[in-house]
Symmetry: C2
Subunit: 160 residues, 2 copies
């Protein structure tokens, strides 16, 4: 069968970067204690420099999973309420997550970015169990709708 992957162009790079810039949440996939996939919803933002970040609770299953094995995947880009949801563009990212310690300059820079995009998180951002995680992205896959698929590098995503 023919490959559905097209050569990456600037329009694909721009669309992928726009999906990240617009996203307020995403699906996260991690490995559970048996090595099976487990997906959940997390808040999504970008730290200084553009790296994807999230704010997660130590009480959650996904945080414990990431501390055990940092490999993960994110799905960014939400369909609207109309039409076939699979014609709406979405971006799959793969990489690893690292939890960021509170009371570090790294944390403080992320917190400034985060509160601009997620003002309602002010309600819980100070809770002792909430920490930022930064994602190091190794590759991306953009599905711009049927027949419009692109493999992307971290460089294509502006993250290299």
């Amino acid at each position: 069968m023919p490959s559905p992957i097209r050569p990456t162009d600037d329009a694909a790079r721009d669309l992928a970067r726009r999906l990240m810039a617009q996203a307020r949440f995403c699906a996260l996939a991690v490995l559970d204690h048996d090595g099976a996939p487990l997906t959940s919803r997390i808040a999504f933002g970008q730290g200084p420099g553009g790296a994807p970040i999230t704010l997660i609770s130590d009480l959650s299953t996904h945080t414990r999973a990431l501390l055990r094995d940092p490999r993960c995947s994110l799905l960014v880009g939400e369909p609207g309420t109309k039409g076939d949801p699979l014609t709406h563009p979405r971006l799959t990212l793969q990489g690893t997550a690292r939890i960021v310690a509170r009371d570090t300059p790294d944390h403080d820079g992320m917190q400034r970015n985060w509160l601009e995009k997620h003002p309602k998180s002010r309600l819980y951002i100070g809770f002792a169990d909430f920490r930022f995680a930064r994602f190091t992205i190794s590759s991306g896959f953009l599905n711009g709708g049927f027949g419009k698929a692109f493999d992307l590098t971290a460089q294509d995503l502006g993250l290299a």
Copy 2:
């Protein structure tokens, strides 16, 4: 720290079943060829009997992944466009996927259900590379918003 998991009640069971009944798409998590998590968007429906099903292409990375290792996870339940997306209920499912052969009674029953919910898929449902997959769910996790989390069995979900 205290467990955020509440005892399962009928309101939680009803909400989880409603999220499945309403969902037209979901996030799928599978294992890639290295055993790392990989997430993507798929269409979502329920077959005769209520089991979650999807219609996927043999050309896609997730289909090849499921043929290699059927373990997977689904995230069902979309936030609206307003408010904190993490206050909106969502359901994580874990289980396995099995691809269903075309030209079987099993396939035909699924196709009838599917076309009622996904009329636009009539455009490609007959393509040679598209097949149904049925998910056998072993467990669920309902997050009804902060502090409202429930572990669910297949029976709680009406799938046992």
